[in-house]
């Protein structure tokens, strides 16, 4: 089978999410990549070095600069004439583009796969991960999004793919990019962090969140996450949200502080290797999944912990 993987990038470098998608694609067959962007030749060169990669299709055009789905999906659809499966990481970029490709090809997308059981058979979580479905596709082409935590990352080096320029229909003329607010952070990105410290509603407000969670995270070199309640209340921006409808993470260690452990939150972190919870309510559901639990007032325990580490 010939697969086409959407490379996640910012026109400068390849994002990590690409690597686990490459691993999933390699289980299906030959791996080709698509780099769609503007002024992104360096991304294609970097992508060609990913282990196991054959061809890298480079679509370098102003129309693809911000990866607007309206412009990228027709490009992917045209490349799918010579590929059997399209795989994208289940990131906000992948989730935006892949279903559009699927509809154009008249195939039913298989979202957020966590396992590959055969050429057309996949496992995927449903109902916030409270059930795992095994599904078999009857479509002739496959369109898939891949959950990053479920597949190892392919090695970023060691491959010897060839870069080939391609062009697509260009600008569909129905949408345009206006701007973005991307916070720069020194901390590790949530989806690739080895350790994550997450805070919940108990953190009261943005300043308190900062005061209690950030120093502990910095001490551990950890990424910072949050529950929906903490995001909704404006303690931290939306991209901190871990859960069914936020980011899916599986670090070595996940520390949940003042988070109750609603099923929607657990859906995003219960595959972490070790879960630590600090909560003042000994019956909080988070303790049912925590490997190590401390029943305590976070406002006392967290500063003491930060200090003693």
């Amino acid at each position: 089978m010939k697969t086409l993987v959407l490379v996640e990038h910012d026109n400068a470098s390849v994002k990590d999410a690409t690597l686990s998608t490459v691993t999933a694609a390699a289980k299906l067959g030959e791996v080709h990549l698509l780099v769609a962007g503007s002024g992104c030749a360096a991304v294609a060169d970097e992508a060609a070095k990913i282990a196991g990669v054959g061809k890298v299709h480079l679509a370098d055009d102003a129309a693809y600069e911000h990866q607007l789905a309206e412009n990228v999906a027709p490009l992917v659809a045209s490349l799918m004439e010579s590929h059997d499966a399209f795989l994208a990481p289940a990131t906000t970029t992948g989730k935006n583009i892949a279903p559009r490709v699927a509809a154009q090809l008249d195939v039913m997308q298989i979202s957020d796969i966590i396992g590959i059981e055969g050429d057309k058979t996949f496992t995927r979580p449903i109902y916030a991960g409270n059930a795992i479905a095994t599904v078999e596709s009857s479509d002739t082409k496959l369109v898939i999004t891949v959950r990053g935590t479920a597949f190892d990352k392919a090695a970023a080096e060691g491959g010897s793919g060839t870069v080939e320029a391609v062009s697509g229909p260009g600008d569909a003329g129905t949408s345009s990019f206006v701007g973005s607010e991307i916070a720069k952070s020194e901390r590790p990105e949530l989806t690739s962090a080895k350790v994550i410290v997450s805070g919940g509603r108990a953190l009261k407000d943005a300043d308190t969140f900062k005061e209690y969670i950030f120093p502990l995270a910095d001490k551990l070199g950890a990424g910072v996450g949050a529950s929906r309640a903490a995001v909704d209340a404006g303690y931290v921006p939306n991209d901190f949200q871990v859960g069914q409808t936020g980011k899916i993470v599986a670090p070595e260690v996940y520390i949940a502080i003042g988070i109750s452990g609603a099923i929607q939150h657990l859906a995003g972190m219960k595959d972490s290797k070790t879960i630590i919870a600090i909560n003042k309510d000994e019956d909080a559901p988070i303790f049912q999944v925590a490997d190590i639990g401390l029943v305590a007032d976070l406002f006392k325990a967290v500063p003491e912990l930060t200090e003693k580490l």
């Binding site: 607007l68 309206e70 999906a73 906000t92 970029t93 989730k95 935006n96 583009i97 892949a98 279903p99 559009r100 699927a102 509809a103 008249d106 195939v107 997308q109 979202s111 979580p125 449903i126 109902y127 991960g129 409270n130 059930a131 795992i132 479905a133 095994t134 599904v135 596709s137 009857s138 479509d139 129905t174 949408s175 345009s176 990019f177 206006v178 973005s180 607010e181 551990l220 995001v231 909704d232 939306n238 991209d239 069914q244 409808t245 070595e252 260690v253 929607q264 070790t274 303790f287 049912q288 999944v289 925590a290 490997d291 190590i292 639990g293 401390l294 305590a296 325990a301 912990l305 580490l309």
Partner: protein, 248 residues
Amino acid sequence: MKILVPVKRVIDYNVKPRVKADGTGVDLANVKMSMNPFDEIAVEEALRIKEAGKAEEVVAVSVGPAKAQETLRTALAMGADRAILVQTDDEVEPLAVAKILKAIVEAETPGLVILGKQAIDDDSNQTGQMLAALLGRPQGTFANTVEVDGDSVIVKREIDGGLETVKLTMPAIVTTDLRLNEPRYASLPNIMKAKSKPLDTKTPADYGVDTAPRLKTLKVAEPPVRQAGVKVADVDELVAKIKALGIA
């Protein structure tokens, strides 16, 4: 301008789903069902646009069993003007839902279709994008704010790195994220009033859509369960455990 809002009847988000013993699916017998939470946000947004004088009519539509009428009545009680039930007892996949919605859009010609970003049962996160593709129209997915501006709509989107703003030429498709708004509760008088609002019933065949599934579910299983671990007595003990993990 008219706004179309597709709403799905799903298991209530407070209920913990149970996998059926025979592995064929999730047990929905005697389980509380509600409107998909993201769709409540979609209805609310449509109503706010109407209340701001930028739309004249809000039409709710659901594809599902006869009971999905209840979901539509909820949308009507919130303030939608009329509803369409596309009735079927089959499970309809996002691709087929999108095809049905496409036919409805062609008949109703709304300026905006506002959907949820994700149904909390199948967790597909596809239908809005598919509808946009089938119509050849632009999409503003995972919306954090929506602003109708003449014949364009400006959508601020929640993305992995933060926020992104796009401008779409209408007609356009929007899918909602959690921070877009806080949906209203229907008042008792409005619940009563909703009972007499128009609700049309159709079938997928009326729109010429074949709903045969493309994905065959071979099995539905429980995920591996995590065992609760130990509780430590104090911070010192926690420090020791964390050090033993080798991360500090």
